[in-house]
Amino acid sequence: MSAMQDHVMQLEHISVEFRLPKRTLHAVDDVSLNVRRGEILGIVGESGSGKTTLSSTMLNFVSAPGHITSGRVLYEGRDILALDEEELRQYRWRDVATVFQAAQNSLNPVLKVKEQILDTAAAHDEFPESRVLSKARDLLRFVRLEPDQVLEAYPHQLSGGMKQRTIIALSLLLDPKILLLDEPTTALDVITQAYVMNILRRVHDELQITMVFLTHDVCIMGKIADRIAVMYAGQIVELGSVEDIFYHPLHPYTRGLINAAPSLTDDVSLRKAIPGTPPDLTNLPEGCRFAPRCGLCTDGRCEGDRDGELIEVEEGHYTICCQYQDVGA
């Protein structure tokens, strides 16, 4: 049972396909991933890497024409994919709450923040109003907002950063165990982003809530994540602690991603782009999906072999690359 206590959520061999008129798009391909209780897990990947699709399986919320073709999603040992509508409705938000991408737009423009909070609570049978509102006030204060001002405001009266913090407070309303954050700071200014990240760190530290944090920007993960999963073309290509990922990556794509990000402190001449573009998900290359862009690709080893299993190289540090010994070189 020790493994069960360790992991609040387990994804087992998840595949998600989108059936298009003439072809099938493999958005997520046989991905297994465990979320440890109380951790901040970063899922890093570029657009089309499958991170949002993967996270939507955690809510059994894959949008048509996509559907989960295989695998199980276990939350506290319970298979989420087997829940009926009513059970799912209670599971979402109360167990796993989400802050969506461009969350600033997920507030209803014609309702005051207060009304939206009460709606959410009512939908989940949380009463009475006075108790809900006093909790909402605490949460708004927690994300450093002025409750009296925000509760009576319509969304357009709030700035982008305030809306984002309101959404974060709202997501915590039902004491979820897991907070799923999909690019929560992407549309924000640098200063607001830094501020929201500090608030998320604080939310995590004080509430001991598990966070799954999706982003395309590996740079913002250094500050906040405990572990990082790197996705490429529908697979997890590397998984490890934040130190593993930044200080000794074991997949050439991870190394490339870190080297491709311009920073303020490094020598600019060290920055290198990853050549080429990600593969077409309806027509994936045989063997390693990164091989066409990879400098370490060797004939005979990287093509043809499609098992795509993660190899545990060090404790808790996995890579899909068979040439991982040469990545650091």
Binding site: E46, S47, S159, G161, D189, V190, I191, T192, Q193, A194, Y195, M197, N198, H216, D217, V218, C219, I220, M221, G222, K223, V242, E243, F246, G256, L257, I258, A260, A261, P262, S263, L264, T265, V268, R271, K272, A273, I274, P275, T277, P278
Partner: protein, 341 residues
């Protein structure tokens, strides 16, 4: 001094907000008294947060907006007075690359149909066949090979990075002297950003095209303009400008120091030791009603009484220009001061 390619002299841009039954029309001063110059072949990074007026500035430079006051000179001539061929030469000489490459291309036209128009309009080629040939060269130049594969496609068939390269090719096709690039990489995947920035640097070196690189991202600005200059904007104003490396290694304006402290640092050990942002408040000022005196004073850690009364001019300080009354007293910025480790 040599005649600059572009000179902005006390440029101001006012927008009227829509009034209502009970609401008075308000004036938003998007750009307020900006003076800048750009030499031939130079790269200038204009950096600021959303709402600081950087895009408005770019749109004025390319002639899409006419300033409310002040003059913009292109090779010495006031662009408002240009007519006929001289005006056409200015519009051809200054091109723009937009942030949203999908919105910047007509979705109902093939790449060839879109990109051949400026060539034919400016009479740079004699025929459609010649346009096709010229475009094949240009696409090769921006790394879209083989070019004949792209010319007959529609914008939605290309990736974001490819479309952004097309926009660069379109800008290059009319042989401009200056390209205004407004957040050209912020919608492009991280792994492809550097190659686009490299491409722009190459255009700058090879063809002596000057660039105004507009961004909110100091890290990419540092990457592309490492041999150029930077202008940092805070609602409507340039608050610090100078050689990019000098400015970023020794930022003097408290706003720029805060902006630098907010840039994420990938290295986990350094990132986890960052202190709080050196700011008193998070909120940008209301653009219709900017605070009196220095616009940054309500958020500034070092503000004194004078800052709320008197607007600081952009003044020379150790080879840079800084708009702060107490620039000399503001503690010098060191990376060590934010990273305890």
């Amino acid at each position: 001094m040599e005649q600059p390619l572009l000179a902005l002299d006390h440029v101001r841009m006012d927008f009227q907000s829509r009034g209502g039954l009970l609401k008075k029309r308000a004036t938003v001063r998007a750009v307020d008294d900006v003076t800048l110059r750009l030499d031939e072949g130079e790269i200038l990074a204009v950096v600021g947060e959303s709402g600081c007026g950087k895009t408005t500035l770019g749109r004025m430079v390319v002639g899409l907006l006419h300033p409310t006051a002040g003059t913009i000179r292109f090779r010495g001539a006031d662009v408002r007075t240009l007519r006929g061929d001289a005006y056409a030469a200015y519009r051809r000489g200054v091109q723009m690359v937009h942030q949203d490459s999908y919105a910047a291309l007509n979705p109902a036209r093939t790449i060839f149909q879109s990109l051949s128009v400026p060539l034919l309009h400016h009479k740079l080629v004699g025929s459609r066949a010649a346009a096709r040939e010229r475009l094949e060269e240009l696409l090769t130049l921006v790394g879209l090979v083989p070019p004949d594969q792209f010319l007959d496609k529609y914008p939605h068939q290309l990736s974001g990075g490819q479309r952004q390269r097309l926009l660069l090719a379109r800008a290059l096709s009319v042989q401009p002297n200056l390209i205004v690039a407004d957040e050209p990489v912020s919608m492009v995947d991280v792994s492809l950003r550097i190659s686009l920035l490299d491409l722009m640097s190459e255009m700058n070196r090879r063809f002596q095209i000057a660039f105004i690189y507009i961004t909110h991202d100091l890290a990419t600005a540092r990457y592309i303009a490492s041999h150029g200059r930077i202008a940092v904007m805070y609602p409507g104003k340039v608050v610090e400008t100078g050689n990019l490396n000098t400015v970023l290694s020794n930022p003097r304006h408290p706003y720029l120091q805060a902006l630098l402290a907010a840039v994420p640092i990938p290295d986990p050990r350094v990132a986890r030791n960052m202190k709080e942002l050196p700011l008193r408040s998070l909120d940008m000022p209301d653009p219709t009603n900017p605070p009196p005196g220095c616009r940054f004073h309500p958020r500034c850690l070092y503000a004194q009484e004078r800052c709320s009364q008197e607007e600081p001019p952009l003044a020379a300080l150790d080879g840079e220009m800084v708009a702060c009354h107490y620039a000399e007293q503001v503690p010098t910025w060191e990376w060590q001061s934010v990273s305890a480790g």
